[in-house]
């Protein structure tokens, strides 16, 4: 076997809650671990922070402090963007923009990014993803605007709105397209995770104190302005998310933060041939077993790549992945009680996440908000009308063919932003529900991160 002696036994890809937990756990079990992340600091999206920021406004900060202390035995490579992972003799080669890292086993923990659906005006400057607004506040101490509308679906809208209030912005309203009362349908899953509810209640308290309007079954259905956003149209939605006629009203704002859940970042698992499936929230997720093993030998998965479920679940999955990867890599037997406890926690947190997703589905009615001129693909400036005509006039029956005919998803972002919406739109035009195959068709990217040609030439 030609596995190089100096290489890592385990490479952990991504240093968010999942990757950090995996790396620290595997290193404690005696494995030689490399932890690789494109960012300047470890912490991922949940603990995104600046130099000198020691936890103000962060949740569960002591956990990050503990995990960071555990990194003393880990080879930490921040500022390394991974663009490809390939199988090599006896293991894998991880290609980054700063060189290669050989390893025997990989743990993919690359997290997720905001999921979007288009609406007229969503390309105007001043319209941001909800996560982007959160990243500006947490990572850079910058509030995206002065008078902000927060919209979309899912509990993530609450910390975004509360974070803006704390940063001194006026939040003109939080418009939740779903009806979270649906949560009551899963009382057991909810009761078992009371801490999450307390966190949500804390955000609601902040919003109430500032008299921020919180409306459910309501969405931002258009943004207006010439060079920047100046106002939005807000409307009530029926059960399918069609606009209730006559319910439209205008809200003045300089900024919109919008997010319809998250999309797992699956370039690397897909490159490695890992099986994917449709997750509880309708996003494509990678399949992991009780040991966090992917369907590809030598590959483990942790955190939101296995389905969006929040930082606590990411931490549990990271620990499970670290324990089992260490068993494979260096034969360290995990403690059975620990594994049993982690599996119980995983089950409970996953049930909570599924209840949350069930309460916040993205309904197809958003497709009635857009007109044929609304851009669906921001990079290639492809309109909804062009995508629809690729189905109607050119006979395409899946998103991959539409991509080839009409170019949505062919620009620099490679469909990361428009892939989900395009798959849903094409499926609807074909008169069916979107499937895992539809999403798979827009998820395959040979290069996970764009790199310079020089990096490519170096291999």
């Amino acid at each position: 076997m030609s596995f190089p002696a100096e290489a890592a036994e385990i490479a952990v890809l991504g240093a968010g809650p999942a990757g950090l937990a995996a790396a620290v756990t595997a290193a404690s079990a005696g494995a030689r671990v490399a932890l690789i992340d494109a960012g300047t600091r470890v912490g991922g999206q949940f603990w995104r922070h600046r130099e000198g920021d020691e936890g103000v406004g962060h949740h569960d900060w002591p956990t990050l402090v503990r995990l960071r202390a555990g990194l003393s035995r880990v080879d930490v490579r921040t500022r390394h963007a991974i663009w490809h992972v390939e199988r090599a003799d006896g293991g894998f080669t991880v290609h980054t923009d700063r060189g290669e890292i050989a390893c025997r086993t990989v743990i993919v923990a690359t997290g997720a990014y905001d999921r979007q659906v288009p609406f007229p005006g969503w390309t105007l400057p001043g319209v941001y993803t909800a996560g982007g607004v959160q990243a500006l506040v947490k990572g850079h101490g910058v509030r995206a605007g002065d008078r902000v509308v927060v919209a979309g679906t899912g509990p993530f809208l609450l910390p975004v709105a509360a974070g803006l209030v704390d940063a001194g912005a006026e939040v003109a309203g939080v418009f939740e397209a779903g009806s979270p009362a649906g949560f009551a349908r899963s009382p057991l899953a909810v009761l078992a995770n009371a801490g999450k509810l307390a966190e949500g209640a804390g955000y609601l308290k902040t919003l109430l104190r500032q008299r921020v309007p919180y409306r459910t079954r309501t969405a931002v259905v258009a943004a207006h302005g010439t060079d920047e956003v100046e106002s939005v149209t807000v409307a009530s939605l029926d059960r399918q998310w069609r606009i209730v006629p006559g319910s439209e009203r205008t809200v003045a704002c300089d900024t919109v933060a919008v997010g319809y859940g998250f999309t797992p970042q699956l370039e690397l698992p897909v490159q490695l041939g890992c099986e994917t499936r449709l997750g509880a929230d309708g996003s494509l997720v990678a399949v992991a077993d009780d040991r966090q093993r992917a369907t590809t030998a030598g590959v483990y998965l942790a955190g939101e790549v296995c389905g969006v479920g929040g930082s606590a679940l990411s931490l549990v999955e990271g620990e499970l992945a670290g324990l089992h990867a260490a068993l494979t890599a260096v034969g360290a037997e995990p403690n059975r009680d620990t594994v049993a406890r982690l599996l119980r926690q995983r089950k409970s947190l996953r049930a909570f996440a599924n209840a949350m997703h069930a309460a916040h589905p993205v309904r197809p009615g958003w497709q009635t908000w857009v007109d044929s001129g609304t851009q669906i693909c921001r990079c290639e400036e492809v309109s909804v009308g062009t995508v629809r005509s690729a189905v109607k006039d050119l006979g395409a029956t899946d998103a991959r063919t539409v991509k080839l005919l009409a170019r949505p998803g062919m620009g620099l972002c490679q469909g990361r932003v428009c892939g989900y919406a395009t798959a849903c739109l094409v499926a609807a035009e074909c008169g069916r529900e979107p499937t895992a195959a539809d999403l798979d068709g827009v998820a395959a990217r040979p290069i996970a991160q764009p790199v310079t040609l020089g990096d490519l030439a170096r291999g």
Binding site: G52, T129, G132, D227, V417, P450, L456
Partner: protein, 92 residues
């Protein structure tokens, strides 16, 4: 808490906090857009804020195609707006 970093944008001096991204510093200074799209010439700035969407492309010290949301601002940087995708040397 943090040190200041001075850089220029369209020839004007902007003061940022050390460690901020070019995009965050521009937004803090009141700029919302600094790129025009290839086909329609429409204005764009930060959208995703985490390196996913490529809406925020900017020219930094003569190099086009930098993602403003990921590029840390350094003292003396010369930042200019970008026209089009500026694929330049980027491959994807």
């Amino acid at each position: 808490m943090s040190e200041c970093v001075k850089f220029s944008f369209r020839g004007q001096e902007i003061v940022a906090e050390a460690g901020q991204s070019v995009g965050a510093a521009l937004i803090a200074a009141g700029h919302r857009s600094w790129r025009t799209t290839r086909r329609e010439g429409a204005p764009r700035g930060v959208f995703c804020g985490i390196g996913v969407c490529f809406d925020c492309l900017v020219v930094v010290n003569g190099k086009p195609g930098r993602r403003a949301c990921l590029t840390e601002v350094l003292p003396g940087d010369v930042v200019e707006p970008q026209e089009g995708a500026g694929r330049g040397e980027l491959s994807c």
